[in-house]
């Protein structure tokens, strides 16, 4: 890594959203690689004590800055002297304006502050694999970095993904306009300890009973530690400026396998398997009703998001492996076991 790394171990690195789910893992990975100056930008330093301890034991110089990326002053403080920015802070609200404000406006502020200095060597932007449109990909087709980005997020009724896609647009704009040295990573479904949730790609319990969707589909999972490592590499590797990387692990389980294992290892519950054509028709009807009723029921189920989340397609991580030299260190079986053990503990706590 050392010979094709764009910075020295003593160069200053900024992580936004550093005490978040992925951010805290990116922090640990960087410490593990031996980087000695890390600045963590957080909304609130509550819950950062464990990170501080990791920093202390490594002898690295770790600085926590509390602030809000909506403040230009906070952004200027955050980027002062940094060589690499890992931008992991994101808007997680439910409304379009919230997600736009906390993903796009914040990113614009951060970039404009960063390009005022002369040290910046890489701006690592974290996006999502959900920004792609699957409409043109046939069943069984391949989703990779060359696929089209969706433009119909309002129709998809997805504020978070909308924010992420618009955030990518801002990064690309500054890349072209101001030669921002950016890299974009688009992780799949990040899972692991710390996030006690089964992804909607497996199914939904919105209607009181768990509807098992996807069935034979491969779920584009990435274990949180593997994902963090890919993000770290994308921020450091020479010669990948302007590239986009999808981050997905190897040996992806099918939706059916995942649910079967979950029921075996965590808890048993009743689920109804729903074939894709049936779910697609349901989504189409819901969408029609939503239009007819002028949004009395919002179009949360619609054909576009049905295709994105539940159409059977394959995913490629070839580019990340080839250009970043990334390999998922935690194999899928081990990652699933770790996750299920964590989920079991969480379930036991509820009792």
């Amino acid at each position: 890594m050392d010979h094709d790394c764009i910075i020295k171990k003593s160069d200053l690195i900024l992580i936004t959203g550093a005490n978040g789910y992925i951010g805290s893992r990116v922090f640990k990975t960087l410490i593990g690689y031996g980087f000695t100056r890390i600045r963590c930008f957080v909304r609130s330093s509550r819950g950062s004590s464990q990170m501080q301890r990791v920093g202390d034991t490594s002898q690295a110089e770790v600085e926590f800055i509390e602030g809000n990326l909506l403040s230009r002053d906070d952004c200027l403080r955050a980027v002062d002297g940094v060589s690499v920015i890992y931008h992991l802070a994101a808007g997680i609200g439910k409304s379009f304006p919230d997600c736009f404000l906390n993903s796009v406006v914040t990113t614009r502020n951060l970039i404009e502050s960063a390009i005022q200095g002369h040290n910046l060597k890489r701006f690592l932007n974290t996006s999502s694999i959900a920004v792609y449109s699957n409409v043109k990909i046939p069943h069984g087709g391949l989703l990779d970095e060359t696929c089209d980005i969706d433009t119909k997020f309002v129709e998809r009724c997805e504020a978070y993904t909308y924010g992420k896609a618009k955030q990518d647009e801002i990064v690309l704009e500054y890349g072209h306009k101001n030669n921002l040295p950016y890299v974009i990573v688009r992780p799949g479904v990040v899972f692991g300890p710390g996030k006690a949730k089964i992804t909607d790609r497996i199914g939904t319990d919105t209607f009181g009973v768990f509807l098992h969707l996807g069935l034979k589909n491969r779920i584009p999972l990435t274990f949180v530690d593997n994902c963090a490592e890919a993000i770290v590499l994308a921020g450091l590797k020479k010669g990948v400026d302007g590239q986009v990387f999808n981050i997905i692990d190897d040996d992806l389980p099918t939706s059916r396998d995942f649910l079967k294992l979950y029921k075996q290892k965590v808890r048993r519950f009743f689920s109804i398997p729903i074939p894709y054509p049936v779910w697609f028709c349901f989504c189409a009807l819901w969408e029609k009703y939503s239009q007819w009723s002028e949004g009395q029921l919002p179009p949360v189920f619609n054909r576009r998001n049905c295709e994105v989340y539940w159409k059977r397609i394959n995913y490629s991580n070839k580019k990340a492996k080839e250009l970043l030299g990334w390999q998922p260190k935690v194999p899928m079986q081990e990652a699933l076991n770790i996750f299920f053990d964590y989920m079991k503990d969480e379930e036991d706590k509820k009792k």
Binding site: R43, N68, G93, S95, F96, P97, L101, V104, V105, Q296
Partner: protein
């Protein structure tokens, strides 16, 4: 066609834009936010012709019949004044202003210019509140209420808001004279103000920070308030705001001379409490049956509204009802759906609560 503009392109602007676009005869022609990206974003999503980053530019670009102001409260007075001076009627989101003095000046200015201004107290127009008002008008209570109880509570479990507010020491909500309360309680206070007589009710407020907030080291936010109000006619009211009660209630209870009423805004239930005596064991069997019938009636009304695509969520229904009534008031010179007296009385009661809240905080710090 009523030409509409919106200033402030955050979450509330989306709610307004969605409802305005459902109103026949109204068109949003311009939006404005000091952050140009936010203005451009809402303009693109709602296909609005013009967007601006300056309110002055927007107001001078076109004659806007009505401007909705959905910015944080500290800017309400200045922006509303600007709009009125530019000749526009104003829909001002709650809380109306930071204090009564600002509210009086805005109302006087609008009246002088022959324009109208309304407070965004849309919770007054949920389907159950509308039905309640009709019953009161028809004399069900036997006159004005003798006493009222209003629970208007808040859930810190709502991560969207609480996480942002608790995690940001500089959040604008903290800088309001009434902090968190100012941003939330006007809905509940206005429900009481509607039925009070006179302009200067007595207000006794007990304000404190919940143990939940204290335990997480948050001592600056008051999230528990109990208020007693008495007007010139000796009508009294209890107002409760809590962040800890579960399920989170939004209820109004009106006690009359003849009968009483309960409005449950969370579930859109209106219950009539008839003053009828039943003999012996009948009092244990007949009233529960009557309450059950009323609940079934509430279900039927809600479901019928849903089938007729008139229901939406109660707050959406209420927002559209208030906006539509305000537009009618402006275009047909009809009375305002919320009187200036009610807006000012709400503001005065809130001022009195915040004044006593300030004393509570000082006592706590001593």
């Amino acid at each position: 066609m009523i030409q509409v503009g919106i200033i402030g392109c955050g979450k509330m602007a989306d709610c307004h834009a969605f409802q305005i676009q459902r109103i026949t005869g109204a068109e949003i022609v311009a939006v404005c936010d000091k952050e140009p990206l936010m203005a451009r974003d809402i303009a693109e999503r709602f296909r609005i012709r013009d967007y601006f980053s300056s309110a002055e530019d927007m107001l001078s670009s076109a004659k806007l019949d009505i401007v909705h102001i959905t910015t944080p409260p500290p800017s309400h007075y200045t922006l509303a004044k600007l709009c009125i001076e530019a000749g526009s009627n104003v829909y001002l989101e709650k809380p109306f202003t930071l204090n009564t003095s600002e509210a009086v000046r805005l109302i006087n200015l609008a009246t002088e210019r022959n324009l109208k201004i309304i407070a965004g107290h849309n919770a007054q127009f949920t389907p159950a509140m509308v039905r309640m008002r009709e019953l009161v008008r028809d004399g069900y209570l036997g006159g004005n209420p003798i006493h009222m109880e209003c629970h208007y509570c808040y859930d810190f479990g709502d991560e969207n808001y609480a996480k942002v507010l608790l995690g940001d020491k500089d959040h604008w909500v903290r800088k309001l004279p009434g902090s968190l309360l100012q941003n939330i309680i006007s809905h509940g206070i206005s429900k009481i103000a509607e039925f009070l007589v006179g302009d200067n009710p007595e207000v006794i407020a007990l304000c404190f920070t919940s143990t939940f907030l204290k335990n997480i080291g948050e001592n600056d936010i008051i999230d528990e308030v109990r208020v007693i109000i008495k007007d010139e006619n000796s009508t009294t009211a209890y107002f409760t705001f809590s962040s800890q009660i579960k399920p989170v209630p939004h209820q109004l209870r009106l006690y009359g001379r003849k009968n009483s009423l309960i409005v449950d805004d969370d579930h859109q239930i209106l219950i009539r409490e008839d003053n009828r005596e039943y003999k012996s064991y009948a009092r244990y069997f007949i009233p529960p049956f009557i309450y059950a019938s009323q609940n079934i009636g509430n279900f039927a009304k809600n479901f019928k509204g849903f089938l007729k695509k008139e229901f939406y969520t109660a707050n959406d229904f209420a927002l559209k009802t208030l906006i539509e009534s305000f537009y009618l008031s402006v275009s047909r010179k009809e009375p305002l759906p919320i009187s200036y007296r009610e807006i000012l009385l709400t503001s005065r009661i809130m001022d009195a609560i915040f004044q006593q809240m300030g004393q509570s905080i000082n006592d706590y710090r001593k």
